[in-house]
């Protein structure tokens, strides 16, 4: 059995790699994960239209899980925070939280449903960067 010190060292090394290594920020896995997230967001959009709270709640969980998967495929957090990926990632999380909070507060989807559309646009924007395409003119929620 490995000692707790060994595990701590390993963890510190992983964290350090995440921050400082020369690993590329994203890989093929990230592109696949972003596409799964996109599909789950479209699924959530159609669930919202049903107004069935339980189905919508499940839809949010699928989205949260696939977003977590996408984030986990990204390396080198230092580069991530200061590279072109930061803004779309910020917007994805931001608009998703706005929608999720609206849902948790029991508000009418009319008031927060548009935020899901914004998340979709931001994921597409991130995919544009990953796949080397020209970015959309103005992704929603841009902070610059």
């Amino acid at each position: 059995m490995k000692s707790p010190e060994h595990n701590l060292e390993k963890l510190a090394r992983i964290a350090s790699d995440m921050y400082w290594s020369d690993l590329p920020v994203y890989t093929e896995k990230s592109i696949k994960a972003a596409k799964v997230l996109l599909a789950n967001l479209e699924d959530l959009k159609s669930r919202v239209e049903t107004k069935d709270l339980s189905r919508i709640g499940k839809g949010f969980i699928y989205v949260l899980k696939s977003k977590a998967r996408l984030q986990s495929t990204l390396n080198n957090i230092e580069k991530l925070l200061y590279g072109p990926y930061c803004e779309p990632l910020f917007c994805i999380n931001f608009w998703l939280d706005i929608a999720y909070n609206g849902f948790n507060q029991g508000r009418d989807p009319y008031t927060w449903g548009h935020a899901i559309e914004s998340v979709i646009e931001c994921v597409k924007d991130l995919l544009d960067i990953f796949e080397g395409r020209e970015r959309r003119v103005e992704p929603p929620g841009s902070f610059d």
Partner: protein, 114 residues
């Protein structure tokens, strides 16, 4: 809305992250899952308040928000993959939330001085 409300929402998220850390240590998946859901709800509320405070357009806020989300998501993905989520990942998330609360505090002081 005032910065104070942002600080309160940040502190709620902080408490839920600490609670999640304690749940992870128990090794009970159901309790951990519940802890993550509480964190997601309070994080969503926090972001909503940050939007109302119009601070998210500032890069120093935005980077901490990205950092917070990244670390929480990395921990959540570990959990979803059936691996034990690392308390250290949550600790990095906590660090980002603390920095956001500090930034809000700086804004509050500035606002009061005006």
């Amino acid at each position: 809305m005032e910065h104070r409300e942002g600080i309160e929402a940040g502190k709620t998220l902080l408490a839920d992250l600490e609670d999640l850390k304690a749940r992870i240590k128990t090794g009970d998946p159901d309790s951990t899952k519940e802890g993550f859901l509480k964190v997601f709800k309070s994080k969503a509320k926090f972001q909503y308040v940050l939007l109302a405070l119009e601070v998210t357009e500032f890069e120093n806020f935005a980077r901490q928000i990205v950092s917070m989300n990244t670390w929480i998501d990395i921990a959540y993905n570990h959990f979803n993959d059936g691996r034990s989520p690392q308390v250290q990942h949550i600790a990095y998330g906590i660090k980002a939330v603390k920095r956001l609360i500090e930034l809000l505090g700086e804004g509050e002081r500035g606002w009061n001085e005006d």
